[in-house]
Symmetry: C2
Subunit: 137 residues, 2 copies
Amino acid sequence: MAKKNRNSGCPVSNSLDIWGDKWSLLIVRDLMYEKQCTYGDFLKSEEKIATNILATKLQILEAEEIISKSQHPESKAKFLYKLTEKGISLLPVLIEIYLWGEQYFELSENHKKFLQDVKKDKEAFLKRAQENLRKAL
Amino acid sequence: MAKKNRNSGCPVSNSLDIWGDKWSLLIVRDLMYEKQCTYGDFLKSEEKIATNILATKLQILEAEEIISKSQHPESKAKFLYKLTEKGISLLPVLIEIYLWGEQYFELSENHKKFLQDVKKDKEAFLKRAQENLRKAL
């Protein structure tokens, strides 16, 4: 993939221009867990994303090749969203956000278990999780 | 510091509620480089943050104890902003954003050099950079 020349020479600023908002990162989080989601699946997340925001964020993430959209195999009226390779490479960012949050917030039991698994061996976890997501590409 | 019980049991969602936007993370980035900044220093960054957005984000980050504000030693009219321990612990998130951005954007020479240093030994870099920032606490 050709590297883009954006307004800023700072990779942080350029990256945040694409996905530097709560909802985009929660979409990536959902796809990290579920591998593939329909539009309706995203609406079910506990954060209750508004349908107009979801539609806009999915469009941007698809245009930026962070996610891909394909016909649902069981319904012509539905689409399936998955992370692309570019989206899968956001996993280390997500995991560091998890680990930061763990220090400052009370977590649900599910999240505690997930983070125990991450912390046993972070590099191995990332490799395994990324390989797993690549199978769905 | 007591852990907060937020709306969501998800540490990603709770974290992004505080600093999950471009401008907050660019403020953290500036403080990571400079250790301490005045209001005017933030305005000089190439992303040209609007003064009303800067004021709001600084207030939120201070209320959430990500940054601290103190009287400038040389001027009663100025304040110095620094990262707190909670802010310094955001460094691993920032570094992963850098590394993601490096894969997809053209970087300036300064950023290339910075990332070469990071990639030599990421853990050692983080430890060194965090210790350095703690000296300014």
